[in-house]
């Protein structure tokens, strides 16, 4: 199994500990993991702002970096969804199409491909799980509350294996945090209000940590928590699954 990790640009630059946890966790599970060093970004920042036509060279770079791997794993539902939906190439469209099927979000890969039955990590804290929308509704990592359908949650399934971890309930278990890429600055007032409301839901149930599959949501929630001088922290799910061993 040839495996590479795709580390989103802002995680690489601002949250290296999330990338390290992802790498260590996969290695612990017995995989040999490559990190193509010339990788940059999935192109979503441009595309979601309406500039998908500018993502051509970014896409080609992605294809160049990740050719030849069986699985491309990323600690971000949002970036994975973008690749799955929008990876194109004017020169190698066939490669782009086949690559889309090889990209996996981390918890999806652990649950569906590795079929992990137990996790050796320990995390003695009360944790709130934020369902990041692109992973949840886009990649179907968890059932969404809009549908009348059986419940399931891949991230929750994994978190339940962590020793000592207590998941707190939420009033709104899958409401958007309001990050939304350029939305977070373009629609600052609504974005912050959405974030404050999400944070309050976790805090009312005593969450010491808010976790998610996407660091972008957590970066936004962290900004709000810190401004409120709250002791509650954010932590990426990879860090929890890799913790305490």
């Amino acid at each position: 199994m040839k495996v590479a990790i795709f580390i989103p640009c802002y995680i690489n630059q601002f949250y290296p500990q999330v990338a390290i946890a992802t790498l260590e966790l996969l290695e612990k599970l017995g995989l040999t993991v490559s990190y193509p060093e010339k990788q940059t970004c999935c192109g979503q920042p441009m595309a979601n702002a309406g500039f998908e036509h500018l993502t051509g060279s970014c896409n080609n770079l992605f294809i160049e970096n990740f050719s030849g791997y069986d699985y491309i794993i990323s600690p971000s539902g949002s970036c994975v969804l973008h690749i799955k939906d929008h990876l194109h190439s004017s020169i190698k469209e066939q490669d782009a199409i086949s690559m889309r099927a090889k990209v996996y979000e981390l918890t999806e890969f652990l649950t569906d491909i590795l079929q992990v039955k137990n996790i050796t990590s320990k995390f003695y804290h009360k944790v709130g799980l934020h369902q990041s929308c692109h992973g949840q509704r886009g990649l179907k990592l968890s059932q969404m509350s809009e549908l009348v359908a059986p419940a399931f949650s891949k991230p929750e399934h994994l978190l339940r294996m962590v020793e000592g971890l207590e998941l707190v309930p939420l009033d709104r278990k899958d409401e958007c945090c309001g990050f939304g890429g350029t939305f977070c600055v373009g629609e600052e007032a609504v974005s912050v209000k959405m974030g404050k409301d999400r944070v309050a839901d976790h805090l009312q149930y005593g969450a010491e940590f808010i976790t998610a599959n996407d660091m972008s949501c957590l970066m936004h929630l962290e900004g709000i928590l810190k401004r409120q001088k709250s002791p509650t922290k954010v932590i990426h799910i990879a860090e929890i699954l890799n913790a305490g061993v």
Binding site: P16, G50, V148, R172, E187
Partner: protein, 467 residues
């Protein structure tokens, strides 16, 4: 020059972000608005869960609507033929203006100065009330919520709950000013009774009633109007003339299909199993005149577009608004269009791209709307597609264009990207004031992330490659 004008337009007109910003000045009110609408979303969830095979019902509705859109031409002609057979006069309007002129000419012919109208989003879209008022004809909206916003001189803020942004105390004050109810009385039952007495005079005196149309059945030539207040029936039954106004997408092939749509509509809209009244109008009663105005107003153009055709499946239930975390926290008026929320944001740019260029960006693309939609419109995917169309057509600020070009350049050059990251981290660490200032919208109400000493790539080189 063109760039400058674009920037000016974006800063001088009140776009969604600016209006949402204003709406958020009163945070407790935002909380109240959000909770009120979320309550309806939860009611919808409960109602949907009680129907066996809800998801199959949605799929059926979606497929029926797909069929309608693929064969709209023949269904419309079938509907016209059957409606005419029933004694109904059928009119066709290409534009909103033509629709308004047709309605006006019918009213004028009868020499009528005041008409009653039950809820119709199409007439809101066409600005019929303003048009008729300019011709000296007064329209009395008879849906309670619509009457409230009409008295207040406002457009509806929600397609199903037009005055959802009004509190009962404020309605008490409004009624006291306009209907003479005692000051300070905001008891809902009392106010509703006052509205009933007020509206009854208009029902009794009005010789012409306008209604919208929820469904038009091709097979029978009948229309179905859903209300909770019975105001459509009361208006029509007491009037000599009935004008029903509908967009051409309201067609369903057969009467039996109502069994699917009526079950979905009320549950999706308010969580009720069915609207109190589902009124069928098939022919004018003896001595009455009945007209149906079929309106295109851009719909044919939408029908021709693979990316945006799907939006014509909409049955106007408003579920996408109730579920939308942005709508709940920005209010319907921030969309500046008759149909607010996610569905409005994909319909409005089709009518006037420049005027509504901001709406597809008033979303986090969370996708809740597409999954709550009873006819499975891919709303959030269309929002994404509209963004591409808007940018390609130049409806974007010059600064954003330059910024995105720069970003795309950096992200396609790994060496440059890694240096830019290092410079960025250094600046954030050593000159925080450069970023943590009032010109940074992120920093206004949020802290910036802590700056790590190195990127993951650097760490990887030190800990994996060199080892």
């Amino acid at each position: 020059m063109a760039t400058d004008t674009t920037i000016m337009n974006h800063t001088t007109t009140s776009d969604h972000a600016t209006l949402a910003d204003k709406f958020n000045l009163d945070e407790p009110r935002v909380d109240w608005h959000d909770k009120t609408l979320w309550f309806i979303r939860k009611k919808r969830d409960k109602a949907a869960a009680q129907v066996p095979d809800w998801e199959q019902l949605r799929e059926s509705a979606s497929q029926i609507k797909n069929n309608v859109l693929s064969n709209l031409h023949s269904y419309l002609l079938e509907f016209e033929k059957n409606a005419q057979k029933n004694g109904i006069t059928v009119h066709w309007a290409v534009t909103a203006k033509e629709h308004n002129q047709i309605v006006h000419s019918i009213i004028q012919e009868k020499g009528i100065a005041q008409v009653v109208k039950s809820k119709s989003m199409l007439t809101e879209e066409c600005h019929l009330n303003e048009y008729l008022l300019a011709q000296g004809i007064e329209v009395i909206d008879t849906d309670l919520g619509e009457r409230i916003v009409q008295l207040a001189g406002e457009p509806p803020s929600h397609i199903v709950l037009p005055c959802i942004h009004w509190k009962k105390e404020e309605i008490g004050e409004l009624f006291s000013r306009h209907l003479g109810t005692p000051e300070g009385n905001s008891d809902p039952q009392f106010l509703t009774t006052a509205a009933r007495i007020h509206l009854r005079q208009h029902f009794l005196s009005s010789r012409l009633a306008i209604t919208g149309v929820n469904f038009a059945v091709a097979e029978t030539g009948e229309i179905v109007v859903c209300t909770n207040e019975g105001n459509a029936d009361l208006g029509v039954q007491l009037a000599d003339v009935h004008i029903a106004c509908m967009g051409i997408e309201k067609i369903i092939p057969q009467r039996k299909h109502l069994g699917i749509f009526l079950r979905l509509l009320a549950r999706s809209a308010t969580g009720q199993p069915i609207t109190t009244y589902s009124s069928h109008f098939q022919r004018p009663r003896k001595g009455q005149e009945m007209h149906i105005v079929l309106v295109d107003n851009g719909r044919s153009e939408r029908l021709a577009s693979n990316d945006f055709r799907n939006a014509l499946k909409c049955i106007r239930c408003g579920a996408c608004m109730n579920t939308c975390p942005v709508y709940r926290r920005s209010g319907g008026h921030s969309y500046r269009y008759a149909i607010a929320g996610p569905i409005g944001a994909i319909l409005a740019p089709g009518l006037d791209m420049e005027k509504h260029a901001d709406l597809p960006f008033a979303s986090t693309l969370c996708g809740s709307c597409s999954h709550v939609c009873p006819v499975k419109i891919d709303i959030h995917d269309q929002l994404y597609k509209w963004r591409q169309v808007l940018v390609k057509n130049g409806h974007v600020s010059g600064t954003k264009k330059v910024g995105m070009k720069g970003l795309a350049f950096i992200l396609s050059h790994p060496g440059l990207y890694s240096r830019a990251g290092a410079v960025g981290r250094w600046l954030m660490k050593h000159v925080p004031g450069l970023i943590n200032n009032k010109f940074n919208p992120w920093y206004k109400q949020r802290e910036m992330p802590d700056v790590p000493k190195q990127s993951f790539t650097k760490w990887y080189q030190q800990n994996r490659i060199s080892k």
